[in-house]
Structure formats: C-alpha cells, structure tokens
Amino acid sequence: MPEPLLEVKDLRVHFPTDDGIVKAVDGLSFTMAAGETLGIVGESGSGKSVSFLTVMGLINKKSAIVEGQVLFQGQDLVQMSNDELREIRGPKIAMIFQDPMTSLHPFYKVGDQIAEMILAHEDISKKEAFVRSVEMLRRVNIPQPDERARQYPHEFSGGMRQRAMIAMALSLNPDLLIADEPTTALDVTVQAQILDLIDRLQSEFNTAVALITHDLGVVAEHCHHIQVMYAGKIVEEGTAEDIYYRPMMPYTWGLLRSLPRLGHDTDRLTPISGAPPSLIFLPDGCSFSPRCPYVFDECHAVEPELLPIDGHHAARCHLSLEDRERIVAQEILATS
C-alpha cells in the first residue's frame, strides 16, 4: 500500500486559558491518500478548523500545547521548526479560508499577492511570477485575467475573490489543499460554482483536498471519505455511502435529522437538543452523552473508542451494532 499523504496520529491541541484548558482537538487520528477528497464535518467547537490550522503550522506555539504527530509525506510537521514549515506552506500544502473578503490584503493588487507567493518559493523574476499569476486567474475562470490581476480585492465580487484565493493556493501545485469552509460566506449559486471549480482543479492538478464544512450536503457530493467531528474528536468516519446510508453514531443521526431538506415535508425538524459542550469542562465518558437521546449508564462512565465497523467505516458509540442498525432502519431512514 502506498504511503499515505497525510497521517495524523493522536493529535491534541490544548489552549491554556484563565478559565481552564480548552481542549480544542483531543485525540485526532486519520489518514489521507494522495489525490483523495476528505470531507470534515462538524459544527462550531468541533475542532475541525483548529486541527488543520495545526497541520499547516499556523497555530501559535506559544499559546497552544500541541502533542501527537502529523506526518506529511513521512515527515512530522509538529516537530518542525518555523523555517522548515515555511518551505512546505505553499509548494506542498496550501490553505484557503472562509471569508474571502478579509483573507486578501486590501492594499495590494491581486496579481501581486499571488505573485508574492510564487516568488517566496521559486527563484524567478517578478515579471515571470506575475505572468504566472495571470495564468492562474485564467484557470479559475476569472474573465479578463490580465486586467483583473492589476485590480484590488475590493474590486472583486465575493465569488471572484474566493476564486482568486484558490488560484493563489494552487499556484505552486501543492499536494494537499485545505479548504476551510470555503463557501460558507457565499451565495448558494456561487457556492455551487466554487465547489465545481475545486472538483475540476483537483483532477487537473491531482491535489488531495481536505474540505472542512458544517454543511452535510456539500460533503455528500464532493468527498470520497468523510469524518464527522465533535468536541475535538472524530465520532464517525467512512465513505459517503457509509455516512448517509448507514450512519452509526447518534450525533450523525442528529445532524442528518436536523437538516432542512428539499425533499422532506415534515413541518418540524428534529434538532439535537442542548448545545455543543464547553471544551474546558468536557463531560465524563462520551462527550455527546448530555445530548444523546439513546444514552445509557456506560455512556457517562467510559469514553467510547473509535471502533471499526467494516472497511473504512468506524464510529464511536457504546450502543451495540444491532441496536444501532435497528434504530437506523426504524427511525433515521424512515423519515420521509
């Protein structure tokens, strides 16, 4: 089996604060293969963004305690110095963020900002770098790329700004693109455009993509593998079919049931009761137990392990497999 592109082993990211230690990421392990698309689904506080910011080395080491390993192409990024990490950011791993309005520097032209990234890693002339940045803008379908490269970010629309960010991220042909909620701030038709673009570029550039989102619909369409995060851990992972047709964890059930869907006609949605837990005072046992409709004694006492179910499918829950399969058949899938 070829070496995985990214292997995260028992990653913990804790932030000491005046009120206590915020356990943003608390034992995260997963792998990504070259060229695959991984969807990471979670709500606020799940740790999905922090985990990938840590992969990029963008977490301030002075304010966070990072433990565990992040092996990228065999090398442990957690142990690397800032200088070494800088060589990786851009040519090997690139990241785009949620809000394209604020992610680009307002004072510099878009083409210059893209060229800057190229120049930081390659020994070419400024002119050449600019030509390449125009080419990247063309590849992300920005019309009149030559003119646009000489404009400022505030002259672009939201969708175009995000495209420019994508152009910038892919300009050095990285092996991994991390997209942190890339479409959350965009209109729904623009969202469709951007996701379509990411799909297309992924095959053109043969990049692996980590797509972080809170939208279960988005990952269904675009990801091979999906992991659902809650309170800093993965609570369920598997292929898209596993998650949507055979979900095996009450939080996943809750998410699926609380989604407003076009095909559904119930008046009332079935939300998950309560609110996400405090990351300082996590509940004993299973982190989801305070909100779980199927909770029983063991859930409060012992934290469940992430146990494999079959193939790539794994879930973290004390309920027996039979019980879970029954619940899924009777309650989860039969809501139409």
Binding site: E43, V188, T189, V190, G217, Y244, L259, L262, H264, A275
Partner: protein, 364 residues
C-alpha cells in the same frame, strides 16, 4: 407522484384581507457626484417594483442572493427606509408616509429578528434590559411588571429566566438568537420580519430556532415574512415562497409548487445549487451552474434582468426569441393557482423533472 407531492406542505387557509400589502414598491439609493452641489448621477436599484401580499397567520418566505433586494424590501415594509415609490398597507391602513405618533403605534405590530446574533444585541446591556426595552418604550406593561413579563418571554423562547441579568457574551449563538426572538415578541406584534435569522447558526441549532418560530406562530397567531438565501430552510417554515432577483420578484408560489414546478430559470438554478445530503442522488442530479456573478443593481440589464446568465435563453436557439429576452421585460403571469412567474419562456416539464428529483433522505 413523488413523495414531495404526496405530503403537502403546511397549508393555512387564507381569509379576508392581507395583513401586509406591498404595491409597486420601489427603493432606489441615489449615487451623487459633484464639487459643491451633489448631483444625482445614478442609483442603486435595490428594489424595482415589487408587489407582495401577506395574509394574517401565514408565513411568506422571501429568497434571493446578494443584491436581490430582499433585505431592503423588508426594511421598506417596516418603514426603516422610506419607499421611493409605491404603497404599503398594513392592517388596512396606508402607512407609506405615516409619521410621528401614528407610526410609533404601528411599530408595535411589526417587529424584526436580525441575522447576526452577535451584532444585533448591545453587548453593554443585560438580557433583561434588552428584552424589556420595547416594553418600557411603548409602556404596554406597567413598570413594576416589566421584569415578570421579560422573564415570561425568556421562558417562552426556551431561556432560563434566572439569566435575566446576564450579558450577551455569556450566551451561545443560538441562545442569543432566542433573545432576539424574545425581544421581537415582547410587544405581541401581529407580524415579525425574520431577516435571515438562522444563517449564522450551526445546523443543529438552526433546527431548534426554526421549530421555536413555528411553535410561537401557532401559539400567538403570528404572521411571518421570512427572508433567507437558502431554499431548503425556507421550505420548512413557509406557506408561500417568493424568489427575488435584482430588485424584482422572479417567481412566487404556494406550498410545494415552487419546488416541484419551478417555472423561472433562476428558481431552477437555485434549486439545483442546493447541496443534497445524499451521495447517489447528488451524482445523478443534473447540475445547473450559473456563469458569472450577480450583476450590480446600479445598472440592471435591459429586458429580462436574468437574461445575461440565463441557460434557458441560450438553449432556445431562435434568435428572435432571444432578442425578446434582451429587450422585453417579462411581467409576472399566472402559472396555476397561486403561482406566478416572470419569464417569456418558462421551464418545461423535462427540465423540471431533472431538477426536482430531490433527495428524500431515504437510502439510495
């Protein structure tokens, strides 16, 4: 018959006069230039001729993307902006140019819930003060009973009344939105305008708030104008949905119809763009990807405003027909009971079938 058609959406009987009637609403924001005297050189056509009726007890969903004018329309309806043209009838009275004490009294009957639970609450005031402010201002409740009433309201929206003295930052996003709901409910209004109230919330919390709004509507016989950019959210709460594009209504329909029989190509594109939480279905579904961005409302396109991006127009083939799209602005025409759309060449059955093979949550 698909599942969607078999189980009808919430149906409310429509009786009597509309509670809110908007006729020919136009709102332009002028753009001025000049050295000493500012001259108007153009305008942002935020709303460019909208008619909308909302009947008592019903929920009308208003959907559109950035720049379509939905928020501006809501604010004009509430007299937060003055309309450039058109009339607003509320509860049988013409409130278009109403001022002073008369307007103040009307304001008790239309309230608003805002999108951003973090920005819409004054961080320096306690929850009790925030929710009690309308009561104190309009003196609908005697001073010594304000606190009790506020605590009542807090319970109604699912907050712990003992948190009366806490500040907004001590609450989560969902709870803050509940505070906004309590505030809007304080004066027992007839109508609440919900301006994207769940867009900024996590999915599981969204569902809680939507359920809350549904329950409150039943209990207090409220009428809602629910603004959203997400068609699927609107579906769960609306009796009737209208789609706006560049300042005008493109299509409006009762119940399920917008979702099962869309006529306007823009509606089709919106439906197509909604991500489906069903991998097999989403692979099979035909995707319509619109090109380009929404044009600026400063210079709306001639003829049909959607024509530069319209895939339907492109597929027509007949240059005369396409010319019509470019020059002749379509009016809203009926397409069945309660269903109107503004398009010269509306979507046909074939495309509709492709688009509306929507997910039902069942195994694929």
């Amino acid at each position: 018959m698909s599942v969607a058609e078999a189980t009808p959406m919430r149906e409310k009987p429509r009786s009597g006069e509309p509670l809110l009637r908007l006729q020919g609403i136009v709102k332009h924001f002028p753009i001025t230039r000049g050295i000493i005297f500012q001259k108007k050189v153009g305008a942002v056509h935020a709303v460019d001729g909208v008619d909308l009726d909302i009947y008592p007890g019903e929920t009308v969903g208003l959907v559109g993307e950035t720049g379509c004018g939905k928020s501006t329309l809501a604010r004009v309806a509430m007299r937060l902006h003055d309309a450039t043209d058109g009339t607003i009838w509320f509860d049988g009275r013409d409130i278009t140019r109403m001022k002073g004490e008369d307007l103040r009294v009307i304001r008790r009957d239309i309230q608003m819930i805002f999108q951003d639970p973090y920005a819409s609450l004054n961080p320096r005031k306690t929850v009790g003060t925030i929710v009690g402010a309308p009561l104190r201002l309009h003196k609908t409740v005697p001073k010594n009973q304000v606190k009790t009433e506020v605590q009542n309201l807090m319970e109604l929206v699912g907050l712990n009344p003992e948190h009366y003295n806490r500040y907004p930052h001590e609450f989560s996003g969902g709870q803050r939105q509940r505070i906004g709901v309590a505030r809007a409910l304080a004066l027992r209004p007839k109508m609440i305008v919900c301006d994207e109230p769940v867009s900024a919330l996590d999915v599981s919390i969204q569902a809680q708030i939507l359920n809350l709004l549904n329950d409150l509507q039943d209990e207090f016989n409220l009428t809602y104008l629910f603004i959203a950019h997400d068609l699927s959210v609107v579906k769960h709460i609306s009796d009737r949905v209208a789609v706006m594009y560049l300042g005008k209504i493109a299509e409006a329909a009762d119940g399920n119809e917008l979702y099962t029989q869309p006529k306007h190509p823009y509606t089709g594109a919106l439906l197509s763009a909604v991500p489906i939480a069903d991998p097999n279905l989403s692979k099979r579904k035909k995707r319509i990807i619109l090109e380009g961005d929404v044009p600026s409302p400063i210079n709306p396109p001639s003829g049909c405003r959607f024509h530069p991006r319209c895939y339907q127009m492109r597929s027509l083939g007949d240059p005369d027909k396409q010319e019509r799209c470019r020059t002749d602005e379509p009016q809203l025409v009926p397409h069945g009971p309660g269903h109107v759309a503004a398009c010269h060449f509306p979507l046909d059955a074939r495309i509709i079938e492709d688009l509306t093979e929507t997910d039902t949550g069942s195994s694929g």
